[in-house]
Structures are given as structure tokens and as C-alpha cells.
């Protein structure tokens, strides 16, 4: 009934006015989109300019020639490859561990009723919502104080200034968000499935591994994409819980880059661009997952 009436109601509006408004909307959103894409375009443009060109004409000028030299200089001069490697060593294990652990907690909390499950869920969720700066002061002391971390994980026995320490804090901090989202997702999976598997004699670990995890594949893919960008983009932990610049992942390393190339915009832009490329590629390839990851929980701490 409603569907059949709707077009008639729309047609009652003067058609020309609607078309004008439509064109207005297009112009508005297109202008906004141009403004939105511009900062990145400008950074890319600055990174592609030659020194000879910019020294003479400034950056606000038509190019006399474009070059990839700045990327090469930043790549070599700022030791970007090492920063990438540091990022890789931190990000990949963090994402995998955070998702595995979070899926176990979410499974245990949503599929079985026990006394403290809402409290546990709240502790995890709220932990992720706290501003990181609230806990950094004691955490910094703790990372310096702990001295019993065995050899392959820590070269000094400490958590401070070690990739392992950064992985640990990333996992624990991001876990709260993953648990929140995954438990919302798992609530939509029928509890009877778990019960049927229990009747069948499967243990809970087996149910988690072969029943729940396969069903959560879409949510896990979305969360993996999202968490990759979150952890890749983390600036704060490695800035304060690592003191050796050479060990810092690329996002925290930007702080060094900023000091190094303060006066050379081309190198600064090239370095910033190199830092951005991996997340940009992941986003362009997996945009759907990224977006659904954010909207699954409709929150990010």
C-alpha cells in the first residue's frame, strides 16, 4: 500500500525544483570531495617535486619536472625499510593474538551463562575506552621494572624498549574492542548450536575451534583489517615505551622524521607518504571489511 502511494506523493512536488536541488547537492558534495582529497594530493605533489624546482619557484608553482628521488632519499636516509620491518614484527603478531584471545573470551562470555560474564565484558570494553595517557605513567615504570622476560622475547629481560612489550600492550589494549565487537557478533549465532555440539561430546575448545570460529569468519576478516590499521597507526605506545629510535615502528618513527626533515618539505612528504602506503593499500583493497569492522560494533575506543 505504502509503496504504491509513495511515487505519487513524490511526483506531487514540482519536478524542476527537485532537479535543481539535486544538482546543488552534486555540486556541494563534489566540492567537498575535492577539498577532502586535496591534502593527500598536495603531499604527493610536494614529494614528487625536484629540489631545483622548489628552491627556485617554491612549492606553489607549476612543476618543471617530477621525480621519485625524494622517495629514494627518504627510503635510504631515514632508514624506512627498518621502520617497516619493526612495524611488521609488531603488527602481525599483535593482530593475530588479539583476535584469537578476543574470540575465546567472546565465545566463553556469550555462549555460556555464568555469574560474572557481564562484569567481565564491561571490564574489557571499558579498558579499551580509557585514554591511553591515563595509564602511561605507571605502565612506563612497570615496563622498566619487569626484568624476567626470557631471551627470544626480550634482549634485556625488560618489557621496555622491546618489540615484545609493544606487542603485549597492543594486544591487551585492542583486545577490549575486539571482545566487544566479536561478542556482539556471536550473540547472533544460536546458542543451540553450542549445546548440540556439547551433547555430541565435543569439548568447549573444540566447539570454539571448529564451530564458532568458522561461523565468525566474516567478523574476523573485518576485525583483522581494522585492527591492522589501528595497530599500524599506533603512535603512542612505541613513542613512550621504546627509547631506541631504530626499534620504533614506522608511525612512531614519524616523530624522528619530523625532526630530521623539518626544513625539507619534499623529503617530509615522501617519508609521510611511505608511512601511509601500506594502510592505504590495505584500505583500498579491503574497504568493505574495514567499514564493516567499524560498524559491527559501531564503536571504536
Amino acid at each position: 500500500m505504502i509503496q504504491t502511494l509513495a511515487p505519487a506523493a513524490e511526483a506531487a512536488q514540482p519536478r524542476r525544483r527537485r532537479r535543481h536541488r539535486r544538482i546543488g547537492t552534486y555540486i556541494f558534495i563534489t566540492l567537498m570531495a575535492i577539498v577532502w582529497v586535496f591534502p593527500l594530493v598536495w603531499a604527493l605533489y610536494a614529494a614528487l617535486r625536484t629540489d631545483r624546482d622548489t628552491v627556485k619557484n617554491g612549492y606553489f608553482s607549476w612543476p618543471t619536472g617530477l621525480t621519485l628521488d625524494n622517495f629514494v632519499s627518504a627510503w635510504n636516509g631515514a632508514e624506512i625499510p627498518r621502520a617497516y620491518l619493526n612495524t611488521l614484527v609488531i603488527t602481525i603478531p599483535s593482530v593475530i593474538i588479539a583476535l584469537l584471545v578476543a574470540s575465546m573470551v567472546a565465545f566463553a562470555v556469550t555462549k555460556f551463562s555464568w555469574r560474572f560474564n557481564i562484569l567481565a565484558l564491561m571490564i574489557f570494553t571499558a579498558g579499551n575506552l580509557l585514554p591511553q595517557q591515563i595509564i602511561i605513567v605507571p605502565l612506563y615504570q612497570m615496563f622498566l621494572w619487569v626484568g624476567f622476560i626470557p631471551e627470544p622475547l626480550s634482549s634485556s629481560g625488560k618489557l621496555f624498549d622491546q618489540a615484545f612489550g609493544i606487542i603485549l600492550i597492543n594486544v591487551v589494549f585492542q583486545m577490549g574492542f575486539c571482545i566487544f565487537v566479536l561478542s556482539n557478533y556471536m550473540k547472533t549465532i544460536s546458542k543451540e548450536l553450542t549445546e548440540a555440539a556439547l551433547v555430541d561430546g565435543a569439548g568447549v575448545f573444540r566447539i570454539w575451534a571448529s564451530v564458532i570460529m568458522p561461523l565468525c569468519r566474516p567478523a574476523l576478516a573485518a576485525m583483522a583489517t581494522l585492527e591492522f590499521t589501528f595497530i599500524y597507526n599506533d603512535f603512542f605506545w612505541a613513542l613512550f615505551l621504546m627509547s631506541t629510535g631504530d626499534r620504533r615502528p614506522i608511525t612512531s618513527f614519524l616523530q624522528n622524521l619530523n625532526g630530521m626533515y623539518y626544513s625539507n618539505y619534499s623529503l617530509l612528504a615522501a617519508g609521510a607518504f611511505l608511512a601511509v602506503i601500506p594502510t592505504l593499500l590495505v584500505f583500498l583493497a579491503l574497504q568493505r571489511y574495514f567499514v564493516s569492522g567499524l560498524t559491527l560494533g559501531s564503536t571504536k575506543g
Binding site: I2, A9, T125
Partner: protein
């Protein structure tokens, strides 16, 4: 098969088939072990009850080993969460009553009561930081968030090329705020000829009335303490708008189109429909967005740190903490007192969110 399988005919089928249907990726759990033999008669007895679903029934299905596994699954992460997040959060409160500098052991002599809080009140950067955080919140809440909602509403209409627009608005969301700070430094660079904004302003041909205006083309956008906060806010909004658009657009897509059609029949135009029909119906997502905006405003840090380490007009509570407690001066007690202030403020949006979330769950 899907729903009422076990209540009817449990003795003949042990539920294997249900599993096969639901999880095709793993073809059936192979041969049942001895445990299931024990469970089935017990279960049959329980399921004979007309209705159940209480805690007791589900627990009784679990073996002792299952319970231990579940306890470990939640317990180990919980311990880590308590030790690495909640422990430090509480320790911050404790440290705020000391004058510890982080050097040497913490002894009774370090406990000085509320002395650091008194110092905080006299600290010249404390009040600016509070004001800046409040401005940050107000800007995100009343400027950036509404723009994000507007973009989402526009993209929700059948716009040609909507996907491309979405990609453009979402790109800044995947960038770290540190890199956003760097990118905007290039735009804000003060020297005409290099910084885009000032070069652009300088390139505007003079009009009869422009000589009355101040010479904006030589503004030091990030260096001038009276305006750099707004420059940083513009850069932050570049990301925040896209973030809100993602969340709001998802909400709009799940909005029942019949409600909108009904409003159209009643003669409402699209603006009236949005204000009176769509927006109120989006209440759950509105709450989430307000909470997220508040939390983003409180944890704002990266962008001011990369611009000038949160000084000279860019003081924020978050940056004051690291600048006092984790800098050369290492004023652990003092920094912790600032952290406690931030904690107290943060509790408001966090509790709002948790209360809202539990209430949603119960409905």
C-alpha cells in the same frame, strides 16, 4: 531442522546433523567419544522439561574439563587486562598522592597527600589545557560530527558515484593522526610560495575592500598560539568527519524505508523527514556517535604532539601528562594528578556507553 531439533527426537539423533548443517567448513565432528555416552541420558532428562534456558541447565552440560578450559579462556586475558590496564589506572590514582620522580624507590616519605593537586591548580598550563580539551570536544561535537552526518545523509540518497565519494571521505580515517599532522604541516607552512594555504591566500587578487582585512596570507597557522588549536582541529576534523560518515551511513542503510515513505505521504519534505523521522529513529547510533566523539576529544594527543609536542597554544591534558611525568623533569606524582583529572572526566562517556549498552542488551 534449524530450530526445534533436540526436543523432539534426541534419542535417535545425537545432534550430529545439526552440526553438519551449520558448519559446512568442518564436515561433522568425527566419531563421538565416550563422554557423549554419559551425557545423553542426562540431557534427555533435562530437556524433557517444558522450558529451560536458565543457567543451571547449560552448566550441567559442561564437564569439569570444559569448565576449566572456559575459566582459562576468560581468566588469562582478564588477568592481563587487570594487570596492564586497570592496575596502572588505579596506580595512577595512588601515584597522584606522591611527589615521586621515578628515580629511586617509592617510600612513605613520598606520600604528600593532595600537595600535587594544589600545585596543579597553580600550574599555568592546567587551565589552558582544560579549556583546549573543552574546545576540542565542542568543535568535534558541534562542527565535525554534524558535517559527518550531513555527508552520510547526502551519500545515502541515490547519488551517482556514491562509492567513489565514500572512498574519498573514508581515506583519512585509515591514516594515523600523526601522519595527518605531518601532511597538514605541508598545507599550513607559513612561507608564501611553499605552504599551500598562505600561497593560495596571497594569490587571491586584491579587491577594493580587502585592504581593510588583516594580512591573513602571512599567518603562522601552527606557530601562532592563539590560532594553532583551530588549525589542529581542522586537521583532526579531516579524519573525524569520515569516521562519523562511516558509522552514520551504516545506520541510515539499516533505516526502514517505509517510515520515510510514510513521511513523504504526509507531505514532509526531505529536511523535515530527516529531523522528525530519521534522526529520532537513529537514537542508538546517535548515542554511540556522541560517546565516540567525547572519547576522541579526551584522548586527542598524536596530532598536537607531532606539531609541537603539545605546547604554545596546543596544551591538552593528555600532552601535559607525558610532558610532565615522562620528560626530563620526570614529575611522576604531578603527571599522575593530571591523569586522574583526565580519568574522572573520561568516566562520564565510558559509563554512559556501558549503561546504554547493557540496557540495549536487555531489550
Amino acid at each position: 531442522m534449524a530450530n526445534s531439533h533436540h526436543s523432539s527426537d534426541l534419542s535417535s539423533s545425537t545432534g550430529d546433523q545439526t552440526l553438519n548443517d551449520a558448519a559446512p567448513a568442518r564436515p561433522g565432528l568425527p566419531g563421538t567419544t565416550g563422554a557423549s555416552v554419559d551425557r545423553v541420558p542426562m540431557l534427555r532428562r533435562r530437556l524433557a522439561l517444558p522450558f529451560g534456558g536458565g543457567r543451571r541447565r547449560r552448566f550441567s552440560l559442561l564437564t569439569r574439563r570444559d569448565k576449566i578450559v572456559l575459566a582459562l579462556m576468560v581468566g588469562i586475558p582478564l588477568i592481563f587486562d587487570l594487570v596492564l590496564i586497570w592496575g596502572p589506572a588505579i596506580a595512577t590514582i595512588g601515584l597522584s598522592f606522591t611527589d615521586w620522580t621515578g628515580i629511586g624507590p617509592l617510600t612513605d616519605k613520598n606520600f604528600v597527600g593532595v600537595q600535587e593537586y594544589q600545585k596543579l591548580l597553580a600550574y599555568p598550563f592546567f587551565e589552558p589545557a582544560l579549556i583546549h580539551n573543552a574546545l576540542w570536544l565542542a568543535w568535534l561535537m558541534f562542527i565535525a560530527t554534524p558535517i559527518g552526518i550531513l555527508v552520510a545523509v547526502i551519500l545515502d540518497g541515490n547519488l551517482r558515484g556514491s562509492r567513489i565519494y565514500q572512498t574519498i571521505f573514508y581515506i583519512p580515517v585509515v591514516l594515523s593522526l600523526a601522519v595527518i599532522g605531518l601532511i597538514w604541516q605541508l598545507l599550513y607552512a607559513p612561507d608564501v610560495g611553499n605552504g599551500f594555504i598562505n600561497s593560495f591566500l596571497a594569490a587571491i587578487p586584491p579587491l577594493p575592500f580587502t585592504h581593510f582585512l588583516p594580512d591573513v596570507a602571512h599567518t603562522d597557522w601552527l606557530g601562532d598560539g592563539s590560532i594553532n588549536l583551530f588549525a589542529a582541529l581542522v586537521a583532526t576534523s579531516w579524519r573525524h568527519v569520515g569516521y562519523i560518515t562511516i558509522l552514520y551511513l551504516a545506520g541510515l542503510k539499516s533505516f526502514d524505508p517505509q517510515l520515510r515513505e510514510a513521511a513523504a505521504i504526509d507531505g514532509a519534505n526531505s529536511r523535515q523527514t530527516f529531523i522528525h523521522v530519521v534522526f529520532p529513529a537513529m537514537r542508538p547510533i546517535n548515542v554511540v556517535i556522541i560517546v565516540i566523539t567525547a572519547i576522541e576529544a579526551l584522548r586527542a594527543f598524536d596530532i598536537v604532539y607531532i606539531i609541537n609536542r603539545g605546547r604554545n597554544g596546543l596544551e591538552l591534558l593528555s600532552a601535559l601528562i607525558t610532558n610532565t611525568a615522562l620528560s626530563e623533569s620526570s614529575r611522576v606524582g604531578f603527571g599522575s594528578a593530571i591523569a586522574v583529572v583526565l580519568l574522572v572526566i573520561s568516566i562520564v562517556p565510558i559509563v554512559t556507553f556501558l549503561v546504554w549498552q547493557t540496557r540495549e542488551d536487555q531489550q
